[in-house]
């Protein structure tokens, strides 16, 4: 009997050996393979729950990770004053990761502690067992201006306000409505995330892009900053060149006509100087000039301002489009910011900023500094010249023409008692039958010593309401920022 017991024992030990073998296969030999299976949510959970570095504005966190107790994720991403910064920061969801637009995704590597410059932090953490802390990102935004922009835009409108320091490219305010509470999408519950996302999308909030930099729309007459540049650069036009100003022209190879804006002052003069035409934003002389100059010179001017090129600031900025035209008719329409020409609010702001800065376009920047968890500076973007758009004399001419827009033209609502404002307005048809327009204004001040560029855009707004809002709000922003 005892021998049988011993044999049974040996067989049982053999069974155990098979268990050890299987465990070592699973836990050691094939563990990487199993770990990287797409159905394995553990690595995702570990990454999603890891602490992310804060995003700060003047040292105050607007996004930070706090330890989370009752969740499988270690940390909860919390957004302070989310409605003010939602489009700039984007959100970080444990379900879907960082939202595609915004700092959260643009600097995901730094914020999550996985960038190359944080390599040694990670090695150290490996040995000390500490959690790698992500980098801290300080934005260029001015919280007071951002708040002011937020308060300006009516809640029922799709509006964007951008303020940049045109001397450095620093973005001081970048606000779009409708905004939303990013915390609703940073929730750890999958069902809550789903519900909130669907509700916000139903409300018409753009969760996956920032209107200010990712949504190119028809710029309308504000695009005349480009056409005017092309005209001046050609040498055939001066600000005081007299031009024909018919109330409408027939477009070649087409049965369409291109009229001047009926409600404006253009009808007063059948012939006028370029600066007057520019101030009143008459269409026909620009269309004629564009057809005369040809597509190439217009495109050259547009690309000098940055059209047709995407960039990172470090959030992704979509390219504004000035595509090749197929006919003179299309070129004529393009010259006044219609047809197939588009611009993001930021692109239009860059055009004004380049003129204000004497023709030198500074690269817009949203990030002031990136610091490691030990507060050591990882990156500190210096002001960077994006392009020499035009020489200084041309810039001065355009500057003067833009002052005319405010002092005697369509931009009169932006006229300040404190300093001279230079601006260009635009009202674009949207190519649909809603009867609404894109209403633009972009400009800078003080005109004799330009410091800040401001752009205000409303998309899909009634004609009267749009022009009413844009000019006044630009003035408010300029007076607030220059008062500083």
């Amino acid at each position: 009997m005892n021998n049988a017991i011993r044999h049974t024992w040996v067989v049982s030990v053999a069974l155990f050996v098979s268990l050890f073998a299987a465990l070592s296969l699973i836990q050691v030999v094939f563990s990487d393979e199993l770990d990287s299976d797409p159905r394995n949510s553990r690595q995702i959970i570990a990454d999603a729950g890891a602490p992310r570095g804060p995003i700060t504005v003047e040292g105050t966190p607007i996004a930070e990770s706090v330890p989370s107790d009752h969740s499988q994720y270690d940390y909860q991403r919390v957004y302070n004053e989310p409605e003010l910064y939602s489009h700039v920061t984007g959100f970080f969801s444990v379900m879907s990761g960082p939202s595609p637009a915004g700092i959260e995704s643009a600097l995901n590597e730094e914020i999550s502690g996985h960038s190359d410059s944080q390599f040694f932090d990670r090695i150290t953490a490996l040995f000390t067992g500490e959690t790698v802390m992500g980098a801290q990102v300080e934005l260029t935004l001015d919280p007071e201006l951002q708040r002011l922009a937020y308060d300006q835009i009516p809640n029922d409108q799709r509006g964007t306000i951008i303020v940049t320091d045109l001397r450095t490219g620093d973005i001081k305010a970048m606000m779009s409505k409708p905004s939303y509470d990013t915390n609703e999408l940073a929730v750890h519950s999958g069902t809550a995330f789903q519900e909130n996302r669907e509700r916000l999308e139903e409300e018409g909030v753009h969760l996956n892009y920032n209107v200010a930099v990712n949504r190119p729309i028809f710029p309308g007459s504000s695009f005349k900053l480009v056409t005017a540049l092309a005209m001046l650069e050609s040498g055939e036009y001066e600000p005081d060149t007299e031009l024909e100003n018919p109330s409408s022209i027939d477009l070649p190879q087409s049965d369409r006509t291109l009229p001047n804006f009926a409600a404006g002052n253009c009808a007063q003069r059948g012939q006028a100087e370029l600066n007057w035409i520019f101030a009143q934003s008459c269409n026909t002389p620009f269309a004629e000039a564009a057809m005369e100059l040809g597509e190439d010179s217009l495109q050259e001017a547009a690309e000098a301002y940055g059209w047709n090129e995407a960039m990172r600031i470090p959030v992704y900025v979509d390219a504004s489009r000035f595509p090749e035209t197929t006919s003179d008719a299309e070129l004529a329409l393009s010259s006044i910011g219609q047809a197939s020409v588009t611009a993001t609010p930021l692109q239009m702001n860059m055009a004004a900023a380049a003129i204000g800065n004497g023709g030198t376009l500074m690269k817009p920047q949203l990030v002031d500094t990136v610091r490691g968890s030990d507060l050591q500076i990882l990156s500190n973007p210096e002001p960077e010249v994006l392009n020499e758009v035009m020489d200084e004399s041309t810039a001065d001419e355009l500057n003067e023409m833009m002052v005319g827009v405010v002092e005697e033209g369509t931009g009169w609502r932006a006229d300040s008692g404190r300093f001279q404002v230079a601006a260009k307005t635009g009202t674009a048809e949207r190519g649909d039958d809603t009867g609404t327009y894109n209403s633009w204004i972009t400009g800078f001040a003080p005109a004799d010593d330009p410091q800040y560029a401001v752009t205000v855009v409303y998309e899909g707004i009634d004609l009267g309401a749009g022009t009413e809002l844009t000019g006044r709000q630009m003035l408010t922003m300029l007076e607030a920022v220059i008062d500083e």
């Binding site: 024992w9 030990v13 069974l15 465990l23 836990q27 094939f30 299976d37 553990r42 009752h70």
Partner: protein, 492 residues
């Protein structure tokens, strides 16, 4: 395993047990405190109260052994206390997730109930041989226990297996206790009829087949267990009972041919289950193709198994540390799949150490069987050891894809009162057997005290029980007088 306890003066070794017990409590309660430190800010009063309860229970058990079974194996109790403490720690850790709440308290309560019941059994039973009187009562009780869950109104279907009984809101798995009663029946029956089975019978080729009437009750028991388990869809327990059956019959007869017969029975059972039980076929498919998307996504599919493998893999060699993994992703993380939770948070090294503990515990059970002098004791110890080793093998083997997965729980670790109680009662019985194995025998001058023919063993030819030759010792002298009326009357 070769050495036997024939020392002139066996030592009780209770002090070693006490020392090991302190280490065991340190590990178990330490793990619970570690969980608290990792997942809570402060270690509050609760930890000390619960730790105190465990210390008190372990010491009470230890004292009961000192008083009633002082030659009992000194390693069994510390190992079981370690495993039980680690189980509570992991269940407590899983209570911090959204899926579970308050399970650790319930487990501690069940631990207390189980240990008190085990102590009571130890004290009241005094000698394992008295269980031999219950051979046929055990069979009846086993049938009753196994049939209870399919009695309308009592039974409850959980996770496709109908093994639960609910009385007054309390759920219980009576089948767990059948592990003990079937073990007693197999051991008692084979101890009584071993000689007949060995001697009578027809020889066919190399195999000697027993007369049907000798094997009848055994076959009946096997059939009932099979039938009930197929009806209940409880494959894990079916596998365990088959294993128990084969192992005990092999040890009783020492004939490999019996293993062949037993394996044939198991094979027939497996084929029948595969043919007629969807549940079994499903488990088989899951075993072979767990990563197949279709099987992964289906209801009752391989999701749980695959997520368990991910958990183990995530733990890697050293584990994430207690409280730092995500074991709650796996369904039933604190009961059927608690091994995965340990594998994830303690890693291959931690889990292997725990398996080694099981292996040592199993070896001590077998050691008790080797050492004891009566056939019933040997067979019972081996049977109960097989219950332990098969539970571990079926659970861990199922999780690691060595065999198809089936619903058994890891002994002493998993949340669940019924299994805990059953396994603790087994501990009490094996401790008594080991006590009988190691206690010094006071013998008369005429008797041979060593070898198979020593006092206290059965008469091999007549299959008589050990009652009359009961070894004498100071505290145990007149304790037992097993009659075994049933066993004997059956043979006539």
């Amino acid at each position: 395993m070769k050495s036997q306890d024939h020392d002139a003066h066996p030592k009780p070794r209770r002090n070693i047990e006490l020392l090991l017990l302190l280490i065991a409590l340190t590990i178990g309660i330490g793990a619970q405190v570690l969980v608290g430190l990792n997942l809570e800010d402060t270690i509050d009063q609760r930890y000390w109260t619960e730790g105190g309860v465990q210390v008190a229970l372990a010491l009470a058990f230890h004292i009961a052994l000192r008083l009633r079974a002082k030659y009992a194996d000194p390693f069994i109790l510390p190992i079981v206390v370690t495993l039980n403490g680690l189980g509570i720690a992991m269940i407590h850790r899983l209570d911090f997730t959204n899926q579970y709440d308050g399970v650790a308290d319930r487990q501690l309560m069940w631990t207390a109930v189980s240990m008190v019941a085990a102590i009571a059994l130890l004290v009241l039973l005094r000698d394992h041989r008295r269980l031999r009187q219950l051979t046929y009562i055990s069979l009846a009780v086993s049938v009753l226990l196994l049939f209870l869950p399919i009695v309308p109104g009592l039974g409850q279907d959980i996770q496709g297996a109908q093994v639960w009984v609910t009385i007054g809101g309390m759920s219980f798995q009576p089948g767990e206790l059948a592990k003990i009663t079937l073990g007693i029946f197999f051991a008692g029956f084979l101890a009584n009829n071993r000689d007949l089975i060995l001697l009578a019978g027809r020889k066919v080729g190399p195999l000697t087949f027993p007369r049907l009437q000798d094997l009848g009750p055994l076959f009946l028991a096997w059939l009932i267990a099979l039938g009930v388990l197929i009806v209940q869809n409880d494959l894990g327990n079916a596998l365990m009972f088959f294993g128990l059956f084969v192992a005990v019959i092999y040890v009783a007869t020492s004939r490999i041919s019996w293993v062949a017969i037993g394996v044939a029975f198991v094979a027939v059972g497996a084929v029948l289950a595969y043919q007629f039980v969807w549940h079994a076929r499903n488990r088989f498919d899951i075993w072979l193709h767990p990563f197949d998307d279709e099987i992964y996504d289906q209801l009752y599919g391989s999701h749980q198994l695959v997520q368990g493998l991910f958990g183990l893999a995530h733990g890697g060699l050293t584990g994430t540390g207690l409280g730092s993994g995500s074991p709650q992703i796996v369904a039933l993380a604190n009961s059927d799949m608690i091994i995965v939770a340990f594998g994830e948070e303690l890693g291959f090294l931690g889990l292997s150490a725990m398996l080694v503990l099981y292996l040592i515990l199993f070896s001590r059970y077998m050691r008790a069987g080797l050492g004891t002098r009566d056939h019933f004791g040997k067979l019972l110890a081996v049977g109960l050891a097989m219950v332990l080793v098969l539970q571990v093998f079926v659970v861990v083997g199922g999780i690691t894809r060595v065999i198809p997965m089936s619903g058994l729980v890891s002994p002493f670790l998993a949340a669940g009162g019924s299994a805990l109680l059953a396994n603790w009662l087994i501990v009490a019985i094996v401790l008594l057997i080991s006590h009988a194995a190691r206690r010094p025998i006071v013998v008369g001058p005429m008797l041979n005290t060593t070898g198979e023919g020593a006092s206290g063993t059965e008469d091999p030819l007549r299959g008589r029980n050990t009652g009359e030759q009961d070894p004498v010792n100071e505290s145990q002298g007149s304790a037992t007088a097993p009659a075994l009326k049933e066993g004997e009357s059956f043979r006539e």
